[in-house]
């Protein structure tokens, strides 16, 4: 037979519109997992620059001299974008945990018939928790 036609990469990535619940759950779980890893490293980096506070290291923040820990944290927290990112981090973490529990159930063979419902439930719950957290996270900058 002559050479046959391979429809190529479009098949792997171009079909996302046709994904079912479990496929989305997988994509989101990967995404959130790696976002959390990314946050973990950022978190370590930020804290390690602030650790000098233990030795009495000081810095200037808004014309006041404060220790580097307080300065670093307060400096970051005064930025609107950081507050928004915190809301995002919460959303990512909550979804990862809820869907992680769902995956653990799937691994144990529990409730396989409602795997799509539990995915939607994870999504909705994540949404609700995220929205509910907004006033807390944006306190002082937006609210």
């Amino acid at each position: 037979m002559s050479q046959s036609y391979n429809r190529g990469l479009i098949e792997d990535f171009g079909r996302w519109k046709e994904f079912s619940a479990g496929m989305w759950a997988w994509i989101f779980h990967k995404f959130t997992g790696w976002m959390l890893i990314g946050y973990l490293f950022t978190h370590i980096a930020v804290l390690s620059t602030a650790i000098g506070a233990a030795d009495g290291q000081m810095m200037m923040l808004a014309g006041e001299e404060v220790n580097v820990y307080t300065g670093t944290i307060q400096g970051l927290e005064s930025l609107f974008i950081i507050r928004v990112l915190e809301v995002g981090l919460l959303a990512v973490a909550v979804f990862h945990i809820l869907n992680g529990v769902r995956l653990l159930m799937v691994d144990l063979g529990i409730g396989l018939d409602s795997q799509d419902k539990s995915f939607y439930a994870s999504l909705i719950l994540t949404g609700v928790i995220t929205v509910a957290s907004v006033p807390t996270f944006l306190q002082g900058v937006g609210f």
């Binding site: 046959s4 036609y5 391979n6 098949e11 079909r15 496929m23 795997q115």
Partner: protein, 292 residues
């Protein structure tokens, strides 16, 4: 009708059955009459039924004809009939409009597994999918992630290779005493593997799987399900089960499954594929965990 010739290289059924296929068969006459009666009955209040047609968009590609090497979609407008399946519509399009339209089909009753297509974005059997359940236009494509041979026909060799890779045959060596002794399977055990035996090798599950798409060596849901049927069969000795689990726990075996459930969603025989794969994962872990 002239078109059956198109299928000759494909079909295995030696005796042609003119009764089923000829336009003038008694069955057809009966159907025609019935249809006429129905049309008359319906034309009173539902005048648009007569003109109702199915809008098909069918993937076309033929490497052997120079003008058709560029893949394209052909549109067909097929008159709708109550109970019409996607396969019926394709057959009509082929018989009436374009005899070069190529697709596999045989049983028309969801048992031969030859007509799995990508219909409106999911893998389904043409003969098991009602047109009335679909949004128009109905887009029919060959199964994704398999090489297209022509139009809707894909190369199934790799799928079959994976099916055979799990040694899908009974391997018990210690046979019962006596020539006429049967190897009976307990009722409960048969019940346990019941769903797994229903596979018709259509390839829909494999085609729907993101992991199989990215890893050509992955055994795939159908092959793992086939292995499940034998691994769970109590008539085989424990050693043989262990041998089966060793095949399944290899790099491209059960652990590739990421529980996306796409196979379970598309399987036309409603086999709980993900459940079976998960159970085999647990069996594989149990085999390797020894606390004593």
């Amino acid at each position: 009708m002239s078109t059956q010739q198109q299928e000759q290289p494909e079909t295995q059924e030696a005796p042609k059955d003119p009764e089923m296929k000829g336009q003038q068969s008694p069955q057809q006459e009966r159907l025609d009459k019935k249809e006429q009666g129905l049309a008359e009955a319906e034309s009173v209040d539902e005048s648009d039924v007569e003109g109702e047609s199915v809008h098909l968009k069918v993937f076309r590609y033929d490497p052997e004809v120079s003008g058709k090497q560029e893949p394209r979609f052909d549109e067909f407008h097929v008159p709708f009939e109550k109970g019409m399946t996607v396969l019926d519509a394709l057959i009509f399009a082929r018989d009436e409009f374009d005899s070069s339209l190529t697709f596999r089909h045989s049983c028309r009753q969801a048992i031969c597994g030859s007509d799995a297509f990508f219909i409106n974005g999911s893998q389904q059997l043409g003969c098991k999918t009602q047109i009335s359940d679909l949004q128009q236009p109905v887009r029919v494509e060959p199964l994704p992630h398999q090489e297209v041979v022509k139009d809707l026909v894909v190369d199934m060799d790799h799928f079959y290779d994976q099916m055979h890779a799990v040694e899908p045959y009974f391997q018990q060596e210690d046979l019962p005493e006596g020539d006429l002794e049967e190897q009976r399977q307990p009722r409960e055990n048969r019940e346990k593997v019941k769903m797994s035996t229903r596979c018709i090798w259509c390839g829909a599950c494999m085609s729907s799987c993101n992991i199989a798409a990215g890893d050509n060596q992955y055994l795939g849901p159908a092959a793992i399900n086939k292995a499940y049927k034998f691994a769970m069969d109590e008539r085989e000795d424990e050693e043989i089960k262990e041998h089966r689990l060793r095949i399944l726990e290899q790099e491209h075996g059960v652990w590739r499954c990421q529980t996306q459930f796409s196979c379970t969603e598309v399987c036309p025989k409603d086999i709980p594929l993900t459940e079976h794969i998960q159970e085999l994962k647990r069996e594989a872990v149990k085999k390797n965990l020894k606390f004593w």
